[in-house]
């Protein structure tokens, strides 16, 4: 198990080192804005905030409310493309 977590840490480090993680994040953000994911989540945020009252909203509340929905709302095409990119990166750098 320690080997597994070691590998995970190494891959994460590689992703950050190569700047690939930033690139992937940027790509994901752009895609999500493009497909309306962000607007949907914002509308959801509004509901949550109205429910709780404008003054009593915390970041933690928002995260717990929004993250499951956000994960579910990501379109399949975006998800597939992102997974593809990650796999390609791993394959490329594992081959080295």
């Amino acid at each position: 198990m320690s080997k597994d977590s070691q590998m995970r840490a190494a891959i994460n480090q590689k992703l950050i080192e190569m700047g690939e993680r930033e690139r992937l994040k940027e790509l994901l953000r752009a895609k999500l804005v493009e497909c309306g994911w962000k607007d949907q989540l914002k509308a959801h945020c509004k509901d949550v905030i109205r429910e709780k009252g404008l003054e009593h909203v915390t970041v933690e509340d928002l995260v717990t409310e929004v993250t499951p929905k956000g994960r579910a709302l990501v379109p399949d095409s975006v998800k597939k493309e992102l997974l593809q990119r990650i796999r390609a990166f791993l394959a490329q750098h594992a081959a080295l």
Partner: protein
């Protein structure tokens, strides 16, 4: 641990797949977290709900999505066939054609002199070439929309007869009626006041002073007067003489005087005399430009009673101008004649320079 050591094949494939999904969900959570931060900041800064209004106005300005309506719920071609009523000729004109029509109808703007001339020409029953031009203009004139044209035809017989187009189209059927109408409208809507641009707009006095200083030949194309000097090379003496006869009445050419017989080659003297003689008998009869232009024939009979009076005055003036100067140029004689006659009647018209010439001659 180095990347190279990573086991990629065999049973580890599922592990790798799990790793890929982990990375992906991490990224998605990152994005969610970013959004949460963004929203939270907006809420705490107080600008999160700025773009919201109350539900009523949201409903009011909802985007309409129905066939035949635009997004505001209006019929989008409702202005297409809008028609305005012309205040002048009381006809309905398509809104898009209203401004050009008004320009023509009121006789203002660039083409007004042309149209005014056309009316004048129809008054005089001018030459055939003139009417040919009118026909061409008829073809080009898309002033009216088709619908308006039809409506206008229906109401042909009632009040709408005083527009230029109508008077033209009626001309061939009922000349007298139209002539009276169009001359009436012409007098009513004669807005041309540009100096030296359109001779119709000038008063007889202006016309006369203009013709003593300028060539004044009326162009066939623009129907405007030439503003060059009397010796402008573009026009012949014959043309200039014809214009003066046309504008100042036939008496100008019908009165051969002693001076004209002596200096027959110079046109200025007869011109000057005709002008001067006009000035003399204009005292009694106040004639508008339209009258002088349209009643060419009618002035003929009145000439018969004038020659004595004119001859007298012309002789007297010539003795004043020609006797003192010996043989001055024709133009100076005519100028001095004019200045003298105008000085008699309206001192302000004569310019100081001209009167000084006259003094020199004496």
């Amino acid at each position: 641990m180095k990347m190279e050591d990573m086991p990629l094949s065999g049973p580890d494939n599922t592990k790798l797949e799990a790793l890929v999904h982990d990375i992906y969900s991490e990224l998605v959570e990152d994005a969610c977290l970013g959004l949460c931060f963004e929203v939270h900041r907006a809420v705490k800064q107080g600008y999160f709900f700025l773009d919201e209004t109350d539900q009523e106005s949201m409903k009011e300005f909802e985007i309409v999505d129905q066939p035949g309506l635009d997004i505001f719920g209006q019929v989008y071609n409702q202005w297409k066939n809008k028609e305005c009523e012309c205040p002048n000729c009381k006809r309905l004109i398509a809104a898009s054609r209203f401004a050009p029509h008004l320009e023509k109808c009121l006789g203002m703007g660039r083409n007004s002199s042309r149209i005014a001339n056309r009316r004048l020409a129809s008054n005089n029953n001018m030459s055939k070439s003139e009417s040919d031009q009118e026909d061409n203009d008829d073809l080009n004139d898309n002033d009216w929309s088709y619908g308006a044209e039809k409506k206008a035809k229906k109401r042909k017989s009632d009040k709408n007869q005083n527009s230029p187009r109508r008077s033209k189209s009626l001309k061939h059927k009922n000349g007298d009626l139209v002539n009276s109408i169009s001359s009436e409208t012409y007098n009513k809507y004669n807005y041309n006041t540009g100096h030296g641009i359109s001779y119709d707009a000038l008063s007889p006095d202006e016309l006369r002073s203009l013709l003593t200083t300028q060539c004044g030949v009326i162009s066939e194309h623009t129907k405007k007067m030439c503003t060059r000097s009397q010796r402008c090379p573009q026009h012949t003496d014959e043309q200039r003489r014809a214009v003066r006869v046309f504008l100042l009445g036939p008496s100008a050419s019908l009165l051969p005087s002693a001076d004209a017989a002596v200096e027959n080659d110079s046109f200025d003297i007869p011109d000057g005399q005709s002008l001067m003689s006009r000035l003399q008998w204009d005292d009694t009869s106040d004639i508008s430009p339209t009258d002088s232009a349209s009643s060419k024939a009618s002035t003929n009979h009145s000439d018969s009673r004038r020659p004595k009076k004119k001859k007298k005055t012309s002789l007297g003036l010539n003795s004043g101008g020609g006797g003192g100067g010996g043989c001055p140029t024709g133009s100076s004689i005519s100028q001095s004649n004019i200045s003298l006659s105008t000085k008699k009647k309206r001192p302000k018209v004569a310019t100081p320079s001209i009167s000084s010439i006259y003094d020199d001659l004496n």
